[in-house]
């Protein structure tokens, strides 16, 4: 299955689809013309070819490997707020034309095809060059990596009872052809190593620890000891730490979030609520609040799809718009929304390169890329020391938000009590719940230690999953509700 294109720039994507499926400008134009036979504002074709492989280990052996090849085309037509979409896993002139006539059915009015000649855009940049597709790295090397992780993790602590590890490699090639002449492709590598450890103490208590690492770069980097040993050490540390964890208190308290992964707070509390679709429909708790204060002074939140090699980054989004750095909150004031083409057009705004989709089988919608808060100037130790009694949360599992009421939650898998400004006993399963438009107004201290997460985040919306990143400096939030079991 070495039929994936050589990794590289946008024109490689174009060449790949041309040679593999015999696509030429004429067949693309003809499918778009079919869509435009009704009164349509915009139509596009999205081609995708993706190879993914994964190898996983448990009980000390690599029990299985899998490999998947997915390919297809989606044809979309937009008229006003309406979108028609049809997709097929057969990439043929016939299936494209059929899909186009299905997609255009959302408009009843006749139109006149006004084809804009297609011009391939020149490669602007490559945020994730790799020397070879991660799916082309021999599976034997991935198996050897997992064996090494297993031995290493078990050697770290005798309380380690179970090690589960996996390495996932993805190589995705996409091409967008739009009725405005857009013709742009992208070749996207994505790799990830996950390590999960179950530790048990002599009394029979069991706990789990997890750490992963990844991004859009050469798989070879994950094969370096420094990378995977860190993930294994973290998983073992969290599992064994939690063996001594105490029940978490319940109630409203002051919380310090550590740097990096706790940036999931921004993702849930404000990021989703600032996606253009919810604001165009006025279903978000942030609707009509541009220019208003939604955070304390000093809080600046950014969504940036242009960070090199990050899991949430893209050269162009899934509508062919180059990604960018978008200021969402500047010094506490709400400044911007995340837009795809449809919602930007309907709101009279510019697309921000956030039109993303899980695959050709899904409609694009506004999604985050890498979302983070800029650093402040306080030393993280001072932020911690400022809290008399509270909770220090440094690592989180999942979160969720109700964008209409603004209520969000996220759950810590590593948290501690803060007593007199010092980090105390570890706590079990703290869940934080708050109100998105309100929570950042409770940020009272911002550390100087901004960090991004380690590249394993996945965001779900409307049934679609896409890879994302988050980041945060150490911050203090006053008076947030912590869900524990101790009154």
């Amino acid at each position: 299955m070495n039929d994936a294109p050589a990794p590289g720039r946008e024109d490689d994507a174009l060449r790949f689809f041309r040679s593999r499926f015999g696509l030429d400008d004429r067949s693309l134009s003809s499918a778009l013309d079919t869509a435009l036979e009704r009164r349509i504002d915009y139509a596009d074709l999205f081609f995708e070819h993706a190879t993914q492989d994964s190898v996983s280990l448990e009980e000390g052996i690599v029990k299985s490997g899998d490999r998947h090849v997915e390919q297809g085309v989606g044809v979309r037509a937009q008229a006003g707020e309406r979108q028609g979409y049809a997709h097929s896993d057969e990439v043929t002139v016939e299936s494209m034309r059929l899909a186009a006539s299905t997609a255009r059915a959302i408009s009843q009015a006749a139109g006149t095809p006004s084809p804009v000649p297609m011009s391939a855009s020149t490669p602007r940049r490559d945020l994730y060059p790799v020397s070879r597709a991660p799916t082309d790295v021999p599976v034997g090397r991935k198996v050897a990596l997992l064996d090494a992780i297993d031995r290493y993790a078990r050697g770290l602590d005798p309380r380690v009872k179970q090690v589960m590890a996996s390495v996932v490699s993805q190589h995705r090639t996409v091409l967008v052809a739009g009725s405005d002449g857009t013709l742009v492709g992208d070749v996207r590598p994505l790799v990830r190593v996950n390590v999960q450890v179950i530790a048990a103490d002599p009394a029979g208590r069991r706990e789990i620890g997890y750490c992963g690492t990844g991004g859009r770069f050469d798989l070879e980097r994950l094969l370096e000891a420094e990378e995977w040993q860190h993930a294994a050490r973290e998983a073992v540390r969290i599992a064994t730490l939690n063996l001594a964890a105490e029940p978490c208190p319940a109630g409203t308290m002051d919380v310090v979030l550590g740097p990096g992964w706790p940036g999931i707070l921004l993702h849930e509390a404000v990021g989703h609520g600032l996606e253009g679709d919810f604001n165009r429909k006025q279903t978000s708790a942030f609707s009509d609040r541009l220019g208003q204060r939604v955070a304390t002074e000093g809080v600046t939140v950014i969504d940036d799809g242009t960070l090199a090699e990050r899991r949430g980054s893209l050269n162009v989004d899934d509508e062919g718009t180059p990604t960018q750095r978008t200021v969402l909150i500047e010094n506490g004031i709400l400044r911007g929304y995340l837009q795809d083409r449809l919602n930007a057009r309907l709101m009279g705004a510019d697309p921000t390169g956030n039109g993303r989709r899980e695959s050709y089988a899904h409609l694009p919608m506004p999604r985050m890329t890498n979302t983070f808060m800029l650093a402040g100037d306080e030393a993280p130790e001072d932020v911690l020391r400022s809290v008399k009694n509270g909770i220090y949360a440094v690592s989180f599992g999942g979160g969720q938000v109700d964008i209409t009421s603004g209520k969000f939650v996220f759950s810590a898998n590593e948290a501690y009590r803060i007593e007199d400004g010092r980090v105390g006993a570890p706590l079990v399963g703290a869940t934080l719940i708050g109100n998105g438009p309100d929570v950042l107004t409770r940020v009272t201290r911002i550390g100087n230690d901004l960090a991004l997460d380690r590249g394993v985040g996945t965001c779900g919306k409307d049934g679609q999953s896409v890879p994302v990143g988050v980041g945060l400096p150490t911050i203090r939030i006053d008076g947030i509700t912590v869900g524990g079991t101790e009154g």
């Binding site: 299955m1 015999g22 009980e59 052996i61 690599v62 029990k63 490997g65 899998d66 490999r67 998947h68 090849v69 297809g72 707020e81 309406r82 979108q83 028609g84 979409y85 049809a86 997709h87 097929s88 896993d89 057969e90 990439v91 043929t92 002139v93 299905t102 959302i106 198996v143 179970q162 589960m164 706990e207 789990i208 978490c248 319940a250 109630g251 409203t252 279903t283 599992g397 999942g398 979160g399 938000v401 109700d402 209409t404 009421s405 209520k407 969000f408 939650v409 996220f410 079990v428 399963g429 869940t431 719940i433 109100n435 509700t481 912590v482 869900g483 524990g484 079991t485 101790e486 009154g487």
Partner: protein, 456 residues
Amino acid sequence: MSAPSPLAPGDVIERALERAKRAGADAADAVLVESEALEARVRGEEIDFVTQAREHTLGIRALVGGAAGFRSAITSTSDLSPEAVDRMAEETVALARATAEDPDAGIPEEGFAEDLPDLALFDAADRGVAVEARIEDARRAESAARAADARIANSEGSTVGSDFSHIVYGNSAGFLGQYDAASHSLYSEPIARANGSMQRDYWLTVARRLADLEEPGAVGRRAAERATRRLGGRRIPTCAVPVIFDPMTAPSLLGHLASCVNGYTVYREASFLAGRLHETVASSLVTVIDDGRRPGGLGSKPFDGEGLPTRRNVLVEKGRLDTYLLDSYAARKLGLRSTGSAARSAGSAPSAAPTNLWLQPGARTLEELIADTDRGLLVTELIGMGFNPVTGDYSRGAAGLWIEDGEIRYPVEEITIAGNLGEMLTAIDAVGSDLLWLGRIASPSLRVAEMMVAGT
């Protein structure tokens, strides 16, 4: 360009198995899923989107025998041309050779499904359903929701879906079976507004046959009622009180239970219920059944992901854990027999999963449960992922209705409920009569005697 396969579905499977064998596989199985789907959303007066799709995916698993057991691998593709199938079968075998020998790997050798009962998984008459007719359902739900209450000011829309699939499974032990299934749904999500604050909620109906769907207007009205009753939500002081889960939220507890009695989490000792077989793990009011042959059930299928007949399994009987959910691999790991619970998608190895899982209803209505609660919480929505199957620790965001003196007083929000699933199951002191099927897992209302509610 890739074209549709000239082979019939059964022939694709036969060819894949034969090629895998020729390439050196000692055992193999394959799944082919063909599907057609449509989905549409109406928001206000306007169509929001209409999508239509046709897809097919082939998955092949190859097992190569060695001194200590089988090595195995899985591949999947949507390219079903004979050349692609041949190439993929060979690659699956090559990939399998790179993995380790596993003494417990394998396919079942016998006991395959012989009878394929008609489980009412689709209605042939629904095949020709026009997208316009389904859009009309969405319009009716949407306009009913918007008309139901003056405070319904907006919505995320009303969405309909219909999908038809044909599933074929075959293996090198000689089993080849296939069946058709469909599912239709209608989901309405209105937004209520009052005093500058907004609340969303939803209602839905889902069934194997169009005729079994709830009337669209009723779906919209019910959704609107749920959204408006959340307006004016308050926070409450942190307290330990009885918590009632309604039929929308209670199934999530059964889902957590199912993950903890799943053979895979059990043999990995990643479940707090590992090693608890035949012990009392829940209150005597708790009987949990999984039945893969429930007529019209959304999780029903005549055979499981390994070709074994599906059946009725009583997981928990009056509080006693009677069986785990097992496919043949998890069964071998635990020295038990498969419960016919193998789930399988084209691209994945078999795993154990519930089919149609439910908690046996009791005799009392939800209203009676509320009247019987002095002071407590009725949970109508849960958010977040705060459940740890290894320890049973549970802590999730919640919204619902506050109960005082046996009556609903006001909506509450921005709270969490926390406990430990093992203790919660034991503390179930009331089970309602209102079992409601909206998916593959269903539950009547139930009450947990005490949980910690965190608020102000």
